[in-house]
Symmetry: C2
Subunit: 740 residues, 2 copies
């Protein structure tokens, strides 16, 4: 025993606790965990006494609920009025800020002077009035809450009640209770799945942050399941069909699951800025076990090749079912699935393609190409890449967090990149802010600005290591931005949404503004060489031999001799070189004010064996003018054209009437194709299907006939892809008009 | 064998790959991995031939390097001029944008006309000129790079070379090579740790983004290891001493390790915006296995109680050594260790304390308190909390990413909170932007704005569930912001940096601006009640009985009767209630224009057994005026005063001369203290030490005598803490002047 008053001596060692450390709690930090799952919910008591002692039981004439009808059928008015009739779902799905109706039948006629009842809407666990997760709605005007209620019709004991959810309410799955006030307490309906309802964003009402005042664009950017995604090169554009499938069975639940998986607080889910930002992180698997695993390696044996997908349905359903990231994606897959997510929730969105997109260069405004002293490209020292194209999304919303004028279309991008504030997500960045160089505004405007505005800087590196900028190409990057035309299958050039015309005064001002916000540009402006290199556009089918028709134009009054380096490589669509298959080093003499053509024959046998992925060839021609020491250069990406799939369907069909689609393909090469997947689907026509062929010998054909019954009327397409390691990105499609 | 020309049939199933899936590569995505470690480095060849065939060996008169002297000693000029002499390190440590000198001795005299050599600075793997990770410096002006070089002195075969790193160069650990150009190639020095050097931020040069034009503030916010952190309540302020220890042995390497652990790209490490943002994420262990594990549970048996730490040294060294998060922290520990990190790297910084900080309320401008119909607080429905105080950091830098005027002090906060853009980090947010309601600017300005500007809204909830705002208190939150005065041990009130005076026109304008950016406020303005509640400030020592002297003031011309609810609780410093220990429900009658005092005796026996953590009591008094139905309320946090530790040292000491510090404590309670840690340290005096006492019986004392030898001259303090589950946050300190 220690003696009080004595001096204590220190113990030799503190005790070491045994067993695992306790799970950290937030006790002392918060009174309640943050609700972040829309699939969990807390139970609300069926009877809530007022706490006064009193008689049990109920007065004989008390109001009792006999039946509740959510009016969720195809014949009810809610689906049509809320434009949710395309959803393949039995539940009530409505849009916020707009009235929907439900019917409540009581045991007797409702007496407004005496009876009190409320419809209660609850979302998530720990519902709370001031968090907007518990919303009582009263049928009379005297007692108003954020959601409006009114009695639309009375018929005997049945009331039709109109409910208008607040235009900024949480988006997700709610449950509705009916609660009646009795003298002894509140009595409410028992929980029942039939009284679940989904509330979505509403671009049709002015008060919603996603309001878009253009019916044609709303029809395209919310309602259209069919998409066209552009790829290839700006001067040889290719198209890819896509089925966003946002109304397919299970997709809406999958989209809500994505936010649950992100543990996104329920209370944030009414804000399109937060929803889109969070989704841009969750659509990729980095950081957070999100939807899609990116893979640019060429090895897709453990999943589906990015080029093989035909739509989003399989991806979203598989993620929600397996709760595991889906393999594999590249930029257009991220953009397409993100688009499905956004359209499904009611946020207007579209996929856009930026040709020559500056990437992975850390958000500065320079892409460096290093040449050695004689003007030849130094591949070891050239680290930055320019993607042949890059796809992202635009979504439409107001931006109350920014000064006026920056609402409207916003860039969001789910493709994982290096430097979006240190995390794999990007946006929403105001397109208007990008156009005006206001890169100071969140989120990631500076990053997107660099993707469309970087300069390509050629450095000459001396053998002692000194570097000198010798040429700056200010117009290569962000060459063109395309999206699908609303209501049509043509393309729409929206480059001017992102930038002022090349060389205009506004463009210079914008670049200076962006620079003032810390984007670093190459300041020096080396004088242009007086010799131009011209490489005309080329359209080449895979397997063809073809000619490069390189022209050297001498603009000076003296003779010029150019030591030229002509390099042809197979590249990934990310601009990364896989292999150089062609190299020439001609010396070209050009008379004053003359031009000389240099013909280079490209033989397919040289490139065929080295092709990767999307079969892009990249030609870089650089050279040094002997007389002046100036550097000349030109670059061109040539996407090789693939053989086609032939898809055949009847021109007309009828809803629910069975018909066939036929896919045909003949291997045109003198080598076998192995491990071949063929995929087919059609918006409103057919869910995704696939067939696997272990071998298609050289010259052989395949024929696949598939039966289907159209789900709904309208014009649509059946489209198919063929994909194998030796040949990717083979497409085909056929248009069909379905009559009711 | 398949027959070419035949039709192929699909295989029954695709092959299932065996074995683990391949490791994803970035092949096809990038040419080079991003360098993100400052401890790795690539080797540079000692000889780099020019690639021409030619004779081997070297010409007899070629310039050869005999010796390189980094001039890193205490007697060399570099340390003093760069203000890095306090660092306990043998390496050269300099600040960017300012010349340092090295000496190179050759085999013969250097001939500028003929000899070519360069100093090469390299950081990280894959050094690259255009990324700023490979910087050659030439001693002659004709060939300039981003870093300037000059020959400061020539003495025989020895050159003294002055090198000025760019004022925006990467901050971290470099290696210096000397490279000589010979006719056949480049020859350079072999890698040797003695030629490592550290380059830090430099608040002393105008060109650096962290330039701070005030010598007194630089001395405090970069050079001072001793800190005072404020806590308690705004009307009963308490202090905590802290040893930031930024110059202690190993701390600089630990700070660089934190960025390595975050895999922060080397190229971002010259930008104070990116460094501080990344560090705000890395200082806490959430998401990223960062430095400190937060724990507000009261159970600290598996680590060190947050209240027990005396400085940052142990924490940073332990993290760098074990590579595991350190247990445990609360807000001031995060802020203090973050401060060490910032000062160590040369970014001016200070710890600030905000009293009544609105938190965990999702960044809106409302903290809701729910009362029932009779005016009593409904603890189940009141979810938001107001922290008694919260600590964060301010750091000083320009903000080229924002419009002019928002540079200067920036808020960064490493305490993990719910809603900082979905991740556990916060800032840098411009203090000027917060003051002006410009919450649209990154990063997290809106969140910090809410911490100092939220309104407290009292709702009255009817028994049927309807809610009505009955009182809005607009001045409770953000009551005062304090930091230590530069060059002094007093406190400095910097509330006006964050807000205009309560009730001023500017304040209203600012709140409207913030609202326009989407911060939601309570719009309604219920008329103030004509009865006031006044609860005077209290200073109470733990274990004392005391009186609440509550005054009811009737401002009307009629009698008023108030049904009052007086509730006293033990709370965490986060405002979260642990237990209610006092409740009274008096009915108070006040004559016209009169006031009535209600005396409530608080007995220590009621609160002592329930105390948590920092021993805060919280009194909330609410009530309803019978005549008008108006709600009255007042709230007050009373931090109980702890017994003190007695720390004794001699008033004067001498560098390196051994002396003693004595810590004494007597258990003043009538119960035993168990599991007691006592910690002691002193900036420039003593590294952190601790002793463990398994038991201090009631009334017993401890005496701890520790020997130490001061490291350097100046005024400093020895301070100590005592901490055990039953009694936390006991401090003591003693001041000493050390003579050289």
């Amino acid at each position: 025993m220690s003696d009080p008053g004595a001096t204590v001596v220190p113990s030799s060692a503190p005790p070491v606790p045994s067993g695992p450390p306790p799970k950290l709690t937030s006790r002392g930090r918060s009174t309640d965990p943050v609700a972040s799952s829309n699939s969990d919910s807390s139970d609300v008591p069926e009877f809530e006494p007022f706490g006064m002692p009193g008689p049990r039981g109920f007065p004989p004439d008390f109001l009792d609920i006999f039946e509740v009808d959510m009016m969720r059928g195809q014949e009810d008015i809610n689906r049509k009025q809320h434009r949710t009739d395309l959803f393949n779902s039995v539940d009530l799905i409505v849009r916020r800020g707009q009235e929907f109706q439900v019917k409540v039948t009581f045991n007797r006629a409702y007496n407004p002077a005496q009876d009190k009842f409320a419809l209660e809407f609850i979302i998530g666990t720990s519902p709370h009035y001031s968090k907007g997760t518990y919303i009582p709605v009263y049928p009379n005007k005297e007692r108003r809450t954020a959601w409006e209620g009114r009695i639309a019709n009375t018929s005997g004991n049945t009331l039709t009640i109109g409910v208008t959810p607040a235009a900024d309410c949480i988006v997700g799955k709610y449950h509705m209770y009916v609660a009646v006030v009795t003298p002894f307490g509140i009595r409410r309906t028992r929980r029942d799945n039939s009284r679940d309802l989904y509330i979505l964003f509403n671009p049709w009402v002015k008060e919603d942050a996603v309001f878009l005042d253009n019916e044609e664009e709303r029809e395209e950017c919310v309602m259209n399941e069919f998409g066209i995604i552009y790829h290839g090169a700006f001067d040889d554009i290719a198209e890819r069909n896509w089925n966003f499938g946002q109304f397919n069975y299970g997709i809406l639940d999958a989209c809500l699951y994505i936010m649950d998986r992100a543990e996104m607080p329920i209370t944030n889910r009414g804000d399109p800025i937060k929803v889109t930002r969070k989704a841009s992180a969750m659509l990729n698997s980095r950081d957070d076990e999100g939807v899609l695993v990116g893979n640019w390696s060429g090895d897709y044996i453990y999943g589906v090749a990015p080029t093989s997908w035909t739509g989003s349905t399989d991806i979203l359903i598989s993620y929600a079912k397996s709760k595991m990231p889906v393999c594999y994606a590249q930029c257009w897959v991220y953009a397409a699935v993100f688009n499905s997510f956004l359209r499904c929730l009611g946020i207007p969105s579209r996929v856009v393609t930026n040709y020559y997109s500056a990437h992975d260069n850390d958000g500065n405004l320079k892409t460096d190409i290093i040449l050695n002293e004689s003007g030849r490209i130094d591949r070891n020292r050239t680290k930055d890449s320019i993607w042949n194209y890059h796809c992202w999304n635009e979504c439409f919303m107001s931006r109350p967090d920014l000064p006026p004028g920056f609402g409207g279309w916003q860039v969001v991008d789910a493709t994982p990149q290096e430097t979006s504030d240190g995390l794999y997500r990007c946006g929403p960045a105001s397109v208007m802010a990008i156009k005006h160089g206001q890169t100071c505004y969140p989120f990631d405007a500076a990053f997107v600005f660099a993707e469309v505005n970087s300069d390509v800087v050629f450095y000459s590196r001396s053998r002692e290591g000194t570097m000198e900028p010798v040429k700056v190409n200010r117009s290569h990057v962000g060459r063109m931005v395309l999206t699908k035309t609303p209501g049509d299958t043509t393309r729409r050039d929206i480059t001017e949404h992102y930038k002022y015309p090349e060389g205009s005064t506004e463009e210079r001002t914008v670049l200076e503004k962006a620079e003032s916000y810390g984007c670093h540009r190459e300041k020096s402006d080396p004088p242009p060489a007086d010799v131009d290199l011209v490489l005309p556009a080329l359209e080449v089918t895979i397997g063809d031999d073809f000619d490069l028709n390189l022209e050297f134009v001498n603009n000076s009054d003296e003779q010029r001799i150019v030591d030229a380096y002509i390099s042809g490589s197979v590249v990934y669509y990310t601009g990364v070189t896989a292999a150089e298959f062609l190299f020439r080093n001609p010396m070209v003499t050009i008379g004053p004010k003359k031009s000389v053509k240099e013909l280079v024959v490209v033989e397919s046998k040289n490139y065929l064996k080295r092709l990767v992925e999307q079969a892009n060839l990249n030609f870089i021609i650089t050279g040094k003018v002997q007389e002046t020491g100036q550097i000349v250069s030109t670059m061109k990406v040539v996407p090789l054209r693939n053989p086609k799939l032939t898809v055949t369907v009847a021109e007309f069909g009828r809803v629910s009437e069975e018909m066939t689609a036929t896919v045909e393909f003949t291997n045109p090469f003198n080598f076998n194709l192995e491990g071949v997947y063929v995929r087919m689907e059609g918006p409103g026509l057919m869910l995704p299907k696939f067939k696997y062929y272990s071998l298609i010998p050289a010259g052989s054909s395949l024929i696949w006939v598939e039966y289907f019954a159209p789900l709904r009327a309208g014009k649509s397409r059946v489209f198919a892809t063929l994909d194998c390691p030796a040949l990717r990105q083979v497409h085909g499609q056929a248009t069909i008009t379905v009559e009711p």
